[in-house]
C-alpha cells in the first residue's frame, strides 16, 4: 500500500497540473476549475502539515502557504485576466512550486526549479518589455544545472538527506548554488530583472513566481545543510550581499514612479532580509526569517493584487508622480493597500513586527553591522510605501469618473483573509512563531559543522 504522505504529496502536485491541461482543453468555467484544483492542493497540504513533526514541517507549511496563495490569486484575478493561458500558467506554477517544496531529491528539485520558470519563457503568456527577466531566470537555472551536474559527476547520491554535511563538489558547487540563488532572488547586481518582470509581465502570476522564494528555499534546503563548513566561513558574504540588496533597492525605490516597479523593489528589499536571517545561524534570526518569509509572501501578494485591481478599474498607466485620489472611488481597496503595506514594513501589531524584531535580534547577534543596517532599509521601504499610498489614493481626482469601483465581494473576502492573517498573526504571534521556531532549530542544527568521513571540502 502506498505511503499516505507520498499519496497526498502526489495529489497536491498532480491535481493542479491536470487542471492546467483541463483548463487548456475546456474553455468554460476556467476560474471554477482552477479554484477547485487549488482547493484540493490546500487540503492535501494541510493534511500533510498536520501529520508532519514540528521540527520537519517547513516544506509542508510552505506548501500550505503557496497553495492558499494560488487559490487567493485565482479568486482575486480580474475577469479581464481570467484567460485559459493565465489560469493554466498559475496552475502549472503551483504544481511545480509544490514539487520543489516537497522533494528530497536534488534532480527533482532541479526539475521543479526549471519547470516553475517555464511559463515565463512563453512569449504569449509573459510579455516582458526587456530581455532581463528571461536572462535572470535562465542564468539561475543554468547555475543550478551545472551545480547538480558536478555533484552527479563526483559520483554522489542525489538524495539531499544523504548529501547533508558532505560538501559535494566543494567550493565550485557552493559558488554555483550561490549564483543560482542570486539570480533567482534578485540579489544585487542581479536585481533589475525582478522589476522588469513585474512591470512588463502579468502582475499576479509574476508575484506568485517571486513569492515562491525558490532562492531562499535553496539556501534553507540545500546550501546550509550540504555545506555547513563552507557556509560558516563564506556565508557572511551572502549576508552582506543581501544587506546591500536590501539597502540598494530601498534607495532605488525612493525615486521610482511606476507602482509596479516600486512594489517589486519593495518585495526584493524585504525578501533579501529573509536571506540575511537564514544566514544568521542563530535560532532567533532563522525563526525571524521563516516568519518573515510568510509575511512578505502574503503582503506583497496582497499589494500586487490591489494594484492590479486598480489598474483594471482606472487604467494601466497609474503613476506615483502625482496625486490620483483613488480612495474617493475605491476606499476599501485603499484600506487593504494600507494594511498590507504597513504590515510589510513592520508596523507594531502585525506579524511583520514580530518577524522583523526576531530578524534584527538574530542578525545583531551574529553580524552587528547587518543588524544595524537592516532597520534602515525597512525604514526607507516604509517611506516609499507611504509615498506610493499617498500618490495613488490621496488628493483629488481630476477626471469625470464618478462610478464607485471598489472591491467586489469576491475580492473583499480574499483580501480580508490576507489582512486577518497578518493582523491576527501580530496579535497572537506565538501560534505561528512557535512552529517556525521548531523548524528554525532544525535549520540551525544543520549549520553546525561536523567533520564528515568523506568530503570534497578541500577541493
Amino acid at each position: 500500500m502506498a505511503n499516505p504522505a507520498w499519496t497526498l504529496t502526489a495529489v497536491a502536485i498532480a491535481v493542479p497540473w491536470l487542471a492546467a491541461i483541463l483548463v487548456a482543453a475546456i474553455r468554460r468555467q476556467v476560474r471554477g476549475i482552477a479554484f477547485v484544483a487549488c482547493l484540493v492542493s490546500v487540503v492535501a497540504s494541510v493534511l500533510l502539515l498536520s501529520a508532519a513533526p514540528a521540527r520537519e514541517s517547513l516544506d509542508e507549511a510552505l506548501m500550505v502557504l503557496f497553495s492558499c496563495l494560488s487559490a487567493g490569486a485565482i479568486l482575486v484575478l480580474p475577469r479581464r485576466d481570467c484567460t485559459r493561458g493565465t489560469m493554466g500558467g498559475i496552475l502549472f506554477l503551483l504544481g511545480s512550486t509544490l514539487l520543489g517544496y516537497s522533494t528530497g531529491n536534488l534532480l527533482v528539485l532541479l526539475a521543479a526549479w526549471i519547470l516553475s520558470t517555464a511559463p515565463f519563457f512563453v512569449e504569449r503568456w509573459f510579455r516582458a518589455l526587456t530581455w532581463r527577466p528571461r536572462i535572470g531566470m535562465l542564468l539561475s537555472s543554468v547555475a543550478l544545472v551545472l551545480a547538480t551536474a558536478l555533484i552527479a559527476v563526483n559520483g554522489h547520491d542525489m538524495s539531499i538527506d544523504s548529501l547533508k554535511g558532505r560538501s559535494p563538489g566543494g567550493m565550485v558547487v557552493f559558488g554555483l548554488l550561490v549564483v543560482a540563488v542570486m539570480f533567482r532572488k534578485g540579489i544585487c547586481p542581479a536585481h533589475a530583472w525582478v522589476a522588469d518582470a513585474a512591470e512588463g509581465g502579468p502582475v499576479i502570476p509574476t508575484a506568485l513566481l517571486l513569492n515562491g522564494h525558490f532562492g531562499a528555499l535553496l539556501v534553507a534546503k540545500l546550501i546550509v545543510p550540504l555545506f555547513p563548513y563552507t557556509s560558516r566561513n563564506l556565508f557572511p558574504v551572502i549576508s552582506y550581499l543581501a544587506l546591500a540588496t536590501a539597502l540598494y533597492v530601498a534607495i532605488r525605490a525612493i525615486t521610482e514612479n511606476s507602482p509596479r516597479r516600486l512594489l517589486a523593489f519593495l518585495a526584493v528589499s524585504q525578501s533579501a532580509c529573509i536571506l540575511a536571517g537564514l544566514e544568521s545561524r542563530t535560532a532567533e534570526g532563522i525563526t525571524g526569517a521563516l516568519v518573515h518569509w510568510f509575511v512578505v509572501t502574503v503582503c506583497t501578494m496582497g499589494l500586487f493584487g490591489v494594484l492590479r485591481l486598480l489598474e483594471v478599474r482606472f487604467g494601466e498607466n497609474l503613476t506615483a508622480s502625482r496625486y490620483l485620489g483613488l480612495a474617493e472611488h475605491a476606499p476599501r481597496l485603499a484600506v487593504f493597500f494600507a494594511v498590507f503595506g504597513l504590515a510589510l514594513v513592520g508596523l507594531p501589531g502585525t506579524l511583520s513586527f514580530c518577524s522583523q524584531d526576531l530578524l534584527i535580534h538574530g542578525t545583531l547577534a551574529s553580524h552587528p553591522l547587518t543588524g544595524l543596517l537592516l532597520p534602515m532599509a525597512t525604514a526607507m521601504n516604509a517611506v516609499s510605501l507611504f509615498r506610493l499610498f499617498a500618490r495613488l489614493f490621496l488628493g483629488k481626482r481630476h477626471t469625470g469618473f464618478t462610478v464607485m469601483a471598489d472591491a467586489l465581494s469576491r475580492e473583499r473576502w480574499i483580501l480580508a483573509a490576507g489582512v486577518l492573517f497578518v493582523v491576527f498573526g501580530g496579535l497572537f504571534p506565538s501560534v505561528i512563531v512557535a512552529r517556525r521556531s521548531a523548524e528554525a532549530e532544525a535549520v540551525e542544527q544543520a549549520t553546525i559543522y561536523q567533520p564528515p568521513m568523506n568530503t570534497d571540502e578541500r577541493r
Partner: protein, 204 residues
C-alpha cells in the same frame, strides 16, 4: 499640530512627546556606565531646550508655541536623565504632561479669554518676555529672529544633508539599472510614445 486639538493634547502634550524620554529613563542604568553617552544625552537635551525656547518665542499661533515649549521641557528632562537625576526626571515628566495637556486643551479658548481680559482692563497687557532678548546687540537680535523664524534652518539642513544626497543616489541607481536597455522600455514610456504617435496621426 494641524490635527484636532484633543489629539494634539494627548499625543504631543502627554504621550508621544515623552516616549523618547521614557525610553532613555529605562536605559538610564546603561547610560550611567558611559560618561560619553551621558554627556551626549546632556548635550542633545541642552541643544533641544535652546532651540525650542528660541523658536517658540517667534511662533505666531498658540499650538505651535505650546509645541516648542514642550520641546524645551523635554530637552531639560534629557539633561536631567543625562546627569543621572532619575527621580527628578520622572517628576518633571509627570508634571509637564499634566500641565501641557491642560494647556493644549485650553488653547482654542485662550484667545477668547485674552480678549475678555483685555476689555476688562481697558487695553492690552504690557509686553512680556523681552528681557533676555534685550541682552543681545541689535544685529544679533535680528539674526536670531531670522534664525528662529526659519526654525533653526533645520529643514534646510536635513534637505541638504540627507534628502538631496539620497535622491541623487537613487537617481544614479536608476541610471545604473537602465544600462544595456533601449531608451524607451518602461510601461510609462510606451504609453507616452503611444500618445505621441496618436496625436501625430490625428494632426496629419
Amino acid at each position: 499640530m494641524e490635527g484636532p486639538t484633543p489629539s494634539s493634547a494627548i499625543f504631543y502634550g502627554a504621550i508621544s512627546i515623552h516616549a523618547g524620554a521614557y525610553l532613555l529613563l529605562r536605559v538610564q542604568p546603561i547610560l550611567a556606565q558611559s560618561r560619553l553617552a551621558s554627556a551626549l544625552v546632556v548635550a542633545v537635551g541642552l541643544l533641544t531646550a535652546l532651540h525650542g525656547t528660541i523658536v517658540g518665542r517667534v511662533s505666531a499661533d498658540a499650538k505651535t508655541s505650546l509645541a516648542y515649549a514642550s520641546l524645551t521641557q523635554v530637552g531639560v528632562v534629557f539633561v536631567e536623565i543625562g546627569l543621572g537625576w532619575k527621580w527628578i526626571a520622572v517628576a518633571h515628566i509627570l508634571g509637564h504632561a499634566t500641565v501641557r495637556t491642560l494647556q493644549f486643551l485650553r488653547a482654542p479658548s485662550m484667545l477668547h479669554d485674552y480678549h475678555l481680559m483685555h476689555s476688562a482692563v481697558g487695553g492690552e497687557f504690557s509686553p512680556t518676555g523681552q528681557v533676555l532678548e534685550a541682552l543681545f546687540p541689535e544685529r544679533a537680535q535680528l539674526w536670531l529672529y531670522r534664525w528662529a523664524l526659519d526654525r533653526g534652518h533645520l529643514d534646510t539642513i536635513l534637505d541638504r544633508a540627507v534628502v538631496h544626497p539620497l535622491m541623487r543616489l537613487s537617481s544614479l541607481f536608476a541610471r545604473l539599472d537602465r544600462i544595456g536597455l533601449a531608451p524607451t522600455t518602461t510601461r510609462r514610456d510606451e504609453a507616452t510614445l503611444a500618445l505621441r504617435s496618436h496625436a501625430g496621426g490625428r494632426s496629419m
